[in-house]
Each structure stands twice: as C-alpha cells, then as structure tokens.
Amino acid sequence: MRRLRAFLLRFWGLSAGKRQDEEFAEELQSHLQMHIDDNIRAGMTPDQARREAILKLGGIEQTVQRQRDQRAFSLFESLCRDLRFAFRNIHKSPGFTTVAVLTLALGIGANTAIFTLFNAILLRPLPVQNPEELLLFGDGYAAGSTESVPDGNWKLFSYSFFHDFRQKDTSFSGIAAVDSTQFQTKASISGGAYQTTHVNLVSGSYFSVLGVPAVLGRTIGESDDSIDSAGTVAVARYSWFQQHFNNDPSALGKVIRIQSHDYTLVGVAKPGFSGVTVGQSTDLWIPLSMEKAFSRAGWNGLGNKLFQSLYLIGRLRPGVTRAQAGAETNLLFQQIVRSYLGPQPSQKHLDDLAHASVQLTRGGRGVSLLRYALSLPLQILMGIVTLVLLIACANIANMLLARGVVRRREIAVRLALGASRRRIVFQLLTESTLLAFLGATTGVALAWKGSGLLLNMAAPGPDPVPLNLAPDLRVLGFTIAVTVLTSLLFGILPAFRSVGLEFTPALKDGRGSSSVSTRGALARSLIVGQVALSVLLLVVASLLLRSLIHLYDVDTGFDKHDVLIFSLDSSTANLPHGADEIRSVRLQEQIESRVQGIPESAPTASPSSPSTTVPGPIESSFRAFRVHQRTATRSPSTLSATDSFPRWVFLSSKAAPLPLRTEEPPRSPSSIKPWRVASSRTPLRSDLASPSEKRPIIPARSK
C-alpha cells in the first residue's frame, strides 16, 4: 500500500516538477544558511564557512538532481529525453536511417510474415467455446473413408461407432462427428443458378459440442440427425450468408437445392466460424443423416458399421484428465469395434484390432491436412528468415560501429561533462530500439500483404486457401519481442564500444587511437559472420529453387502440352444419378466420342486462361460442362481431388506419346464408381493415407 502511494506520488512528481524544484531550492538555501551560521560561530571566515557547507552537502547540483530522481521516475524522464534526442539524431542522417530501416523492415517483415502463417496454421485455436477442452480422436492426418478393420493408430470412425460410443462413454460431456471430406459441389438457391459450394456433413451434436451458436435462426440439432434422410436442413457460414443474402434475415426458410435434394436454410453460424478444418471453409453444414441422399447411389454410410469416414471431437467433462479419457476411449473402442466384426471374426481381423488404438490429441486447433503438409516447410522457412534477420542485425551493427567513430567526440564530451557511462549506453540503445521499431512498422506493413502472397505461392490454384491471416495478439507479441531482441542484438555491442573509449585522445581530435584496432577486429568478424550467413542462405535458396524447377519438370509419362481437363456435374444438366444412371453413362460416352472427333486444331483456347470452355461443337451442345484447361506449368496433379464430378483428361493426339486417360469412363452401370479422381496418378484406394502421402484420400467406393 505504501509502495503504491509512493509510486503514485512519484508519478505525480512527473508533472509537478517546476514548483517542487523551487521549493527544494528554498529548502537547500536554508540548509546552507544554517550550516554557514554554525561554521561562522565555530570561527571560520564567511568564505570558508560557505565552501565547507557546500562540500559537506556534496554539491548543490548533485543534490538537486538526486532529489529530482527520487521525486519522479527519472528513468521515465530520461527515456523521454533520450527518445527526443534519438529522433533528432536519426533525422540528421537520413541516408543511414533509410538503409537501416529498410534492412530491418525486410528482416522483421519476413519473420512476421512467416510467423503469421505459422500462427494461422499451427497455433491459432478455433473460434469456439473453451477450445482447450476439445479432444480429437486420432491426429486428424487422414481424410476420406475406409472399410478396413482398425489397425494401428486409428483416425476415422463410422457413424455407428459414434452412436454407440456416445451412449457408453463417461469422459466426455459431448461428442461431435464431422465428415472428414468436405464436398465441393453445386448448389442453387431458390432455383437460381448453380454455384460452387462447399458442403460438410455434421452430426446433430456438432454445434452444441463446439459451442458455436447461431447468429440467426438455429443450428443443426439432434432431431435433424436422428432419422435417415430426414434432415433436409442447412446451416450457413456467416460470410457466405452475407455474400448470398446480403444479411437479409428473411433468407431463413429459403430452399437450397444440392444434388437433386432440397434443403431448407434454418440458420447462420456465428461470424468467424468456418468449420473445424483449418485451411478449408465450409459454406453449408448439413446433418449426417443426409449422407446417403447427399452422396448419391451406392453409399450407405450410416448403415455400414465399418464405413469409417468421420472425425470425432469430444469435449472433456470437467475434472476428467486426458489420460483417463484416453484409457476409457481405447477400452470402448476395442469393445465396440469387436462387436462389429460379427460372431466369428477371422484371426486376421482380431489381430488387426488388437493392434488398433485411438490417440486423443488436442482438438482446440481443429483438424488440418494443411498443418501436416506445411509444418516442416514452415519450420524451415522460419529458420531461414531468422538467418535473414541475423544478417540484417550484423549489417546494422557494423554501420553503427562506423557511426560510433564519427560520434566518438560527442560521446567523449558528454562523458567529460559528467554523464555516466550507463546513461550513454542507455541513450544509444534507445536509438537502436527506435530504429528497430521504425523498421518493424514498415516490416509489418510488408508482412500484411506478404503472408497472403506466400500462401498463394505455397498452394497455387484459382481458389485461395481460406485461412484467417489477420494478425492477432500472438503475432503482435512475437513481432514486438523480435524487434526488441533485434535492437539489443545490433545495438548493444556498438553502444558498449562507444563508451569504452580512451578519454583524452578522443577529446583532442575525435579519433581515439587506442581502440581503433579492436574496433577493426570487431567489424571484421561481423563482416565474416555476415558473409558466412549469406553464403549459407544463398546455398539453401538455390537448392530450394532447384527442387522447385525439378518439380515442374517431373516426367509424368505423357506430354503435358495441350492437356484439357473438364468435369461434369450431371445433376445440373438435369441428368440425375440413381435409376437414370444409364443416361449419364451414355452422355459420357457421347462426350468422349465427340471430343475425339474434334479436329486437332480445335482445342486451342488460349493456354494462359486457366478456365475456359472448349470451342467448337461441344460448347453449343453442352453448356453445363465445366472445363478446365491447364498448361504444363500447372500439371493436372494439382487439381483438387474432392470434386464430386466425373472428369476426363483429354490429350490431343499429336501431343500424346501414349494414350493415357487417367480414368476409365464407366462402361456399364454395375461398374459405376460415384467418386473419381482427376489425377495423373493411380487413384488412392480405401485405406487411410499413409504418412508420406500428402494428398487427401479419395472416398472409397462402396458396394
């Protein structure tokens, strides 16, 4: 309490300086007078008496200054003065300042940009309630579906398992299930034009477990998810809703048609929430009960006990530890999956299951394959930009050393006038901190644009990866910490060098002789370090560039020139799947033959346009086709594999050394596979993605 009072009074002392100075001068005056009186009484001459009194006091100026220091925070006062002085100094040498600020902007900006990505992908928690309570079943590094018996660390779960587990477990206050694959499909609002829409299937508990309320209407509830194919409702993402309905609340109840089914828009999720998958944003959430209807013929996800395609996210009950929850989860997992294997399971299945386990991982940051793919590259990049910053520091330290020689005389004068070395070092450090902050401000402005650009470079494509790159407190804290550290790194050495000078020669001519040689050694070692780091960086950069060039030159086994890829969403062409499937097969065959009939010169839409319609007969007959043209720089393998449309890759006969078509158009209804891959590689089959496989798995066909 007393401390606080003293603190506040000292704070007050900052403003009430002048009056108190006068009062103290009066007090000192009376002190000296009394002392002189006493001295004269003791027999001194008035001059002697005065001299002795001042001597005994310890100097008038010094006493006044000490008093001032106690009265207010001298540190604060001197900081303000230092800052003003630093501003003047920086202003005086614009050349040095510009170079230093730009160098620092580059160094700090690069660090901030990479850290922004790092933060968005690896660190930032989901905008949900108490994200730290959420646990993800498995590590989430898999997507798609599998029907194999669990074996190893299991990541995907069936709807039946979700249902049975939820009834038995005691560790979680709630469990949400969400389809591991987000569908990119076409939706038509109130009969309007079909537009690409990202749809995700979620359990009825999804919104309540995550703690995401509806900003308008309601979220999906348990009742929507209880009866197979009965939950024809949809909840929209806030920004999608804004974009399509202009925030109009009367949009609730509107009908959205997706793949021959009508869904009623019942609500809008709270702003900022775009699903649990980092790097993917969901436009519409639809209950899992619609899985069968939604995903067309052949799929019976809800009914098949081993059709495992869901991520499970649980919210821990208060007081339950992660270890307890993990133990219970694994026990139940074994029991429940064992019951799915039937009365007489094969020995192999039993062995597999014996090796299976579920690892509970932190779910608060969501699920992300992007995280898996980018965490190592990001760490490497982080290391590289740290090197860049170190080089910048060495560079500026060297410049400051050179400036120190110029300012030698100024500092010597100040030392002679009685400034303490500590004060001068502090003042010089204030200057470097000011420089660093100027650099940081410029750098952050650069980083703002830079991280988005980087993300586009890392994941090229027509659609940007939806990541929240807005700087948050963590990024700000990181940047400030980096800035302060940087300023100390490049400022502390030159500052101590400057005050460590020999007095007299410095005063005489401004060029101290004794420390020149040591300064030279320091500067030389800084330069050596700088060159070494730069060479290292250069080598790393050129290696990276080489690999990049190699990647573009990968031999795909066919000529990549004049490759056309297009996809067809038959539901928008009024050709539903199901009973009429034979019609779409015919259509596909027809398309194939007609495209093959196009003269070689025909598919020559400008190679620079990424998406274009094919000229010639096709355009007039089938307007509903989506046609992509990709040139060699964008190889077909970069195509997203989650599109649910059949796709073909056509090669012009002149260009193709081998007649490779990435997928066989279906010949008969029995061989129809509802999911196809547009990739030059062999499509991945059912099993979970092996860790080395970075592409999402494609949902497997089911019989």
Binding site: R3, E27, Q67
Partner: protein, 113 residues
C-alpha cells in the same frame, strides 16, 4: 564509499529514530544529529538526507511544514506521522534481530578458530 553502503539501508531508520527522539526537525538538524550520535564514525554527505526524507514522505511515514528555526531562519520541519511511528517500531525490531544474529554469527566464527 565503504561507509555509505551500511548507510543506505539504515538511513531511513536513523531519520525516523532522530525524529522520534528530537521531535520536529529540519534536514540540516537531522543530518547533524545523526553525525553526533554516531560520534563522527559515519561521515555523510548532507545532500543524501534529502532524497531519503522525500522517500519517507512519499511513503507517508513523515510529514513536513515550513517553520522557523531556533536561529530565526525559515526552514522546513519534518515530523513523524502515526504510520511512521509504527514503521519505526517494526524497523527497530527487525534491525535488532538482524544485529543479534550477525553478532552471534561473528562470535561463533571466532570460537571455532
């Protein structure tokens, strides 16, 4: 330099004690009194007394007012507040305890040698 180290920790205590025994007193008087009591063992710069007085005043242990000295000089007089008296008591006890411990420590050292 050597003396002033002992000094700084204990100056506040000495000031409080002086004010307790002498009643309201000005800075010069306090400094003189401390020198006298120490029988000139402590050599202080009188100037150091003022920041210490200011600090005690900021903490609320003493208060000050302008008055007239015995020689009819205008001077600033410091007096103990109630909180100052309590603080003095506490500080005295703490000092005695520390001194006793130190004394014991020093004497055992001698015995063992």
């Amino acid at each position: 330099m050597g003396e002033s180290e002992v000094w700084q920790g204990t100056l506040a205590l000495m000031i409080l004690k002086t004010l307790q025994s002498m009643g309201p007193l000005h800075g010069y008087g306090i400094a003189r009194r401390i020198e006298q009591i120490s029988q000139d063992q402590l050599i202080i710069q009188y100037g150091t007394i003022y920041p210490a007085l200011l600090k005690l005043e900021q903490e609320g242990y003493i208060s000050s007012d302008w008055g007239e000295s015995e020689n009819r000089r205008r001077a600033r007089f410091y007096r103990l507040t109630r909180a100052g008296r309590r603080q003095l008591e506490r500080e005295c006890q703490r000092w005695e305890k520390a001194a006793a411990v130190l004394a014991r420590f020093v004497s055992t050292e001698e015995e063992t040698i």
